[in-house]
């Protein structure tokens, strides 16, 4: 059973398009996150949600809009994609931000 799953695994799209990445966790955790990992492996938090409420928004452009329909899901919608959005995006979950976080397998986004 996959604890944190993301779809799609790979996403190739053109500049200006709008795309979504979905994330689901079956661990019963209250908190979910989106991270961006650049080509140098630097991993940075973008958003965190606790019980469907936005807790952290790390000065991410408003082209990025997370949506949490329920505690087990946190989707990421990106409008007007830019070349600089190319990265690997990871979803994660934990009971609390100080607890062990469980990461999904990542979505490699390539914007051409």
């Amino acid at each position: 059973d996959t604890a944190v799953s993301q779809t799609p695994k790979y996403l190739v799209t053109q500049m200006g398009n709008d795309k979504s990445i979905k994330c689901e966790q079956n661990l019963g955790h209250d908190t979910m996150y989106w991270y961006k990992q650049d080509s140098k492996k630097f991993l940075k938090i973008m958003f965190s949600y606790n019980n469907k409420e936005l807790i952290i928004n790390e000065t991410v452009p408003n082209r990025f809009s997370p949506k949490s329909p329920d505690k087990a899901h946190l989707n990421l919608h990106i409008n007007s994609l830019e070349l600089g959005d190319s990265a690997v995006y990871f979803c994660a979950s934990s009971q609390d931000f100080r607890d062990e976080q469980y990461f999904g397998p990542g979505t490699r986004l390539t914007v051409t």
């Binding site: 492996k41 952290i56 990871f90």
Partner: protein, 110 residues
């Protein structure tokens, strides 16, 4: 800037040798640190953590050392195996979020 950082971006060791991955932090009030391992094509995975009331914590083949005087922590992997090849991150939960260090890529030579 980030509150945690690593000294070396890459580390190459011979299979069977011990590996030491270092991490520095800047906030003397930091009280909890976590090490994550990220294998190629996968998400980071928790390895071991340590609280500031400890100097050392041991797991299976891994040991984390914390030196609060110089604000430094290290991850030691005993008898490094090919399966240990990965990027290792130190991380600190602070301000409601987890801050990751730069990452060290460990390569194990057969």
């Amino acid at each position: 800037g980030e509150s945690v950082g690593l000294h070396l971006p890459t580390l190459s060791v011979q299979e069977g040798d011990n590996s030491i991955i270092n991490c520095a932090y800047s906030n003397s009030a930091s009280d909890y640190f976590i090490w994550y391992k990220q294998e190629s094509g996968k998400g980071p995975q928790f390895i071991i953590d340590i609280r500031s009331n400890m100097d050392k914590r041991q797991g299976q083949r891994v040991t984390v050392l914390l030196n609060k005087t110089v604000k430094h922590l290290s991850l030691q992997i005993a008898a490094t195996q090919p399966g240990d090849s990965a990027v290792y991150f130190c991380a600190e939960p602070t301000g409601g979020k987890l801050i990751f260090g730069q990452g060290t890529e460990l390569s194990v030579k057969p």
